[in-house]
């Protein structure tokens, strides 16, 4: 461990705030972060500390971005972790690549994968970089701010609960994902996953700065707002989000035989004057108001329970739910023409142009 960058230690309260922030940034998908938060809190109660370092403090060395990959979002709940998958994943990666990993990177700061890098960090004593590669949750490995061709072609490492590890070398993210999904069905459904290691210089150049702390801040504001019993528009104001409307779910239509988490949510606004329709493709991907597209990816679209303000995931939304619809901004870089094609509606199979509702908003 050469000249470890100095950073700020993560507090238990930060973990809780990160859980809520990650939940919002999951955009209805990405997995429920509660389990990861409990796991991390347990690691920390055992004495392990996690440092969060700013991306600029990375001088040299290697950053290993860590996540958990599963065949479905819920399999992590159905099959409990052994506890050392993440550490083994980092160890195998270090051994295979023959390098020392200096810091743990975050792939996506939304959903359950916002928490797992911290567990890996707590178990290995490495710091976590305050920058992620997605700025929210996406469902595919290639939907990052990095060019999936040259930057992310390399060796992908998986470690699963029973001790198996797997290296898929020399492939770009789409192939790695395809191989891994096939292999995971034979390996218990989910596994810890390490992206090919990135040099500190590369990570500093491409990663979205400050998104981890921003997610913690978002979670904190959300928690306070929910505790204060704010209504939809007030909460949106506090979160720097756009309030798209609120109403009752008339029906949820899940498209048959097309992947998972795909469908439509039909909402009539409380005043009955408008109809809202949310299209789901693993995440909430697009909102139509009276037939007009009013919000799309890469902005984050959240459905919250009108009364409890709890985040409602795509798999949970039901007819009769009373919901608030919010659009949360993402870092400007996701709207960059080089990156947009990987994260815009068409990447989700929705033949519509992206619509940016949150321009100029900060979270």
């Amino acid at each position: 461990m050469s000249d470890a960058p100095a950073g700020q230690a993560l507090s238990v309260d930060d973990v809780d705030a990160l859980r809520w922030g990650a939940s919002l940034l999951g955009s209805g998908g990405g997995g429920e972060p509660r389990l990861g938060a409990l796991w991390l809190a347990r690691e920390m109660s055992g004495g392990a500390g996690v440092e969060v370092v700013a991306v600029d403090t990375l001088a040299e060395g290697w950053v290993l971005t860590v996540a958990v990959a599963g065949s479905t979002a819920s399999v992590g709940i159905e099959k409990l972790p052994a506890g050392d998958e993440l550490r083994r994943c980092v160890t195998v990666a270090e051994r295979y690549h023959g390098v020392h990993i200096d810091a743990i990177g975050v792939v996506e700061v939304g959903g359950s994968n916002a928490l797992f890098p911290f567990i890996a960090a707590a178990q290995t004593g490495k710091p976590v970089v305050d920058a992620d590669l997605m700025g929210r949750a996406f469902s595919r490995l290639d939907q990052t701010v990095m060019d999936p061709g040259p930057d992310l072609t390399g060796a992908w490492v998986c470690a699963e609960a029973h001790g198996a590890a797997m290296v898929i070398d020399g492939v770009e993210p789409r192939t790695a994902e395809r191989v891994m999904r096939g292999a995971l069905t034979g390996l218990g459904g989910w596994a810890a996953l390490a992206y090919p290691p990135l040099s500190a210089e590369t990570y500093r150049r491409v990663a979205l700065r400050g998104t981890v702390r921003a997610a913690i801040g978002l979670g904190r504001r959300y928690r306070a707002g929910a505790a204060a019993g704010l209504d939809g528009p007030e909460l949106a104001e506090r979160l720097g989000a756009e309030h798209l409307g609120q109403g009752t779910v008339l029906e949820v239509y899940r498209y048959p035989g097309k992947g998972f988490g795909n469908g439509s949510v039909a909402v009539r606004t409380t005043d009955g004057a408008q109809v809202l329709r949310v299209e789901m493709q693993n995440e909430y991907a697009m909102v139509l108001r009276d037939g007009e597209v009013v919000a799309t990816t890469p902005d984050v679209i959240c459905l919250l329970d009108t009364h409890s303000l709890q985040v409602i995931q795509t798999g949970e939304v039901r007819r009769g739910h009373e919901v608030v619809l919010l659009a949360l901004p993402v870092p400007d870089r996701l709207w960059h023409p080089d990156i947009l094609p990987r994260v815009a509606p068409r990447a989700f199979g929705l033949d519509a142009d992206p619509v940016r509702r949150t321009k100029g908003r900060m979270r």
Binding site: E251, S264, V267, V275, M286, D290, G291
Partner: protein, 527 residues
């Protein structure tokens, strides 16, 4: 060439069979006018506007968000309506709500309906109604191949083609088949008519065979003008089939009537000498020749040339109801019926038969103008001939004035042969056609000499007394004597000869109503 089509309301298209089973949701169809039918693969209103009805043909799933976005664009473009293919789960609740709120009529085809076919049919309805009309007419002709079994079959075939109830009305407008008829239409005009009553439009087609036509009528619900035109065309095509069926029926009835009439004529001619051929023919018609026969003659007074076939069924029915169950045979001036029993009839039977016939005439109505005669009961084939003769004679004796006087009851129009006295016999004779022919021939020389004829008649009336006749006529007796001499000379008769006198007197009586005309209220002038 296409004729300029009337603009159609979407409401009318929705009511058309082409859209059977389709579900109309979203905005009200109302009086939205459809001028063009546009086929689009998706919900796409590009370049379209008011008057355009969009039929979407290649929609994967109506629940898709593109439909909802399309509904908005279509509504903003102001198109007349949107037809979506069926199947799947249909549009999402928000799509329906949106269409409703934006006032865009949304028509969901039933599962399995081909959107392309529907689009083609709708386009034909809107743009080329004559093609649709021709198709329907062909369809009807295809169904009617061959001779129709019944009038109902014609109406039913038209109903199937038009997909609307088709009824038949009798000449007086009463329903004889089906359940729908206009409450009123011009029955006096033997012309196709269209009667609109609330949402039902009746298309009425006369089926003319005789003076009084039957009517075919189709009841259409809120039809397009094109559909009314189709119904008119199909019913007009149906008419000849109906006429052909009626004509065939008529032909069969005529043939049967002729068989009856000739058989009876043969029986009356040959009497007891009837051979096996005649008896065989009678057996075929179910006539019983042995036993005791009592004939009834029904004579038409109003118009002897009128059709004896038309009323046959009605008369047979009434006779059956009144226990006269023998054959009914058409005659030139009416019908003859008879009743056959195994024994001679009692006076009681005769009385009840007469009252039965009276009842029949009453039921036929005072306007029927029919006189009835009843013969005595006689046995065997010869007896049949005798009773028929007697019945005819009795019927001939009925004074037409009695029949024409509607204030008199029908009883006076039926006469039994036994009721005929001597005076009536003379009257019967003088009214007979034979007598009239003889009298006209005999008195022909005096045809141009009315004064001579009237003087001759008065002379004979007054027992060949010149004195009595001259005082009755107010003339000098020499004048009368002179006229009688001239008349005898011209006629070539000798009035002192009893035969000549009887013949001339009967002839004068026969022609009397005419011969005596000038005498009424005026003194005849000398020629």
């Amino acid at each position: 060439m296409t004729e300029p089509a009337d603009p159609l309301a979407l409401r009318q298209l929705v009511a058309h069979p082409v859209l059977d089973g389709a579900e109309v949701v979203g905005g009200a169809t109302g009086d939205v006018v459809v001028q063009r039918v546009r086929v689009r693969p998706g919900v796409d209103a590009t370049g379209l506007g008011p008057g355009d009805l969009i039929v979407v043909t290649a929609l994967g799933d109506a629940a898709g968000w593109q439909v909802e976005a399309g509904i908005r664009r279509c509504a903003l473009a102001g198109v007349a309506g949107l037809v979506l293919p069926g199947g799947g789960r249909g549009p999402l609740a928000t799509s329906l709500l949106l269409a409703e709120r934006l006032g865009l009529p949304l028509i969901l085809l039933p599962a399995g309906a081909s959107a392309h076919d529907v689009a083609l049919r709708l386009a034909q309805l809107v743009a080329t109604p004559e093609v649709t009309r021709a198709e329907q007419v062909l369809e009807f002709v295809r169904r009617m191949r061959g001779h129709p079994d019944s009038l109902e079959a014609v109406a039913d075939a038209a109903a199937k083609v038009l997909r609307a109830p088709v009824s038949m009305l009798s000449p007086d407008g009463a329903l004889v088949h089906g359940a729908h008829s206009p409450s009123s239409f011009r029955r006096d005009l033997t012309l196709p008519q269209v009667v609109v009553e609330d949402e039902l439009t009746h298309v009425v087609q006369p089926v003319s065979t005789t003076a009084a036509p039957l009517w075919l009528t189709a009841a259409l619900t809120s039809p397009t003008p094109a559909r009314v035109a189709i119904a008119q065309a199909v019913l007009a095509i149906a008419e000849p089939w109906a006429v052909s069926w009626l004509a065939t029926q008529r032909l069969a009835a005529e043939r049967d009537a002729r068989a009856r009439t000739t058989l009876l004529a043969d029986l009356l001619r040959v009497r007891e000498e009837a051979g096996t051929v005649v008896r065989h023919r009678a057996a075929i018609l179910g006539w019983r020749l042995d036993g005791w026969h009592t004939a009834v003659y029904l004579r038409r007074l109003d118009d002897p040339s009128a059709d004896t076939l038309t009323d046959r069924d009605e008369i047979v029915r009434l006779l059956r109801e009144n226990d006269v169950d023998g054959p009914l045979v058409e005659q030139s001036d009416g019908w003859v019926a008879w009743h056959t029993a195994s024994f001679d009839s009692s006076p009681q039977n005769v009385k009840s038969l007469i009252s039965s016939i009276r009842l029949v005439l009453t039921r036929l109505g005072t306007g029927a103008g029919i006189a009835g005669g009843v013969g005595r009961t006689h046995p065997g084939i010869g007896g049949l001939a005798r009773t028929v003769d007697e019945a005819r004679e009795a019927a001939l004796s009925v004074d037409p004035a009695v029949v024409e006087d509607h204030s008199l009851d029908a009883g006076s129009r039926v006469v039994h042969i036994d009721a005929l006295g001597v005076g009536r016999l003379v009257r019967v004779w003088t009214r007979s056609r034979t007598a009239r022919a003889l009298a006209t021939t005999l008195l022909a020389p005096l045809a141009e000499h009315d004064t001579l004829l009237s003087t001759l008649d008065a002379y004979l009336e007054h027992e060949s007394s010149v004195v009595a006749a001259s005082s009755a006529l107010g003339l000098h007796r020499n004048t009368v004597a002179d006229r009688i001499a001239r008349a005898q000379k011209m006629l070539g008769v000798n009035l002192r000869d009893p035969d000549d006198r009887l013949a001339v007197e009967l002839a004068c009586r026969t022609l009397r109503p005419k011969a005596r005309e000038p005498e009424d209220g005026a003194t005849p002038t000398t020629g």
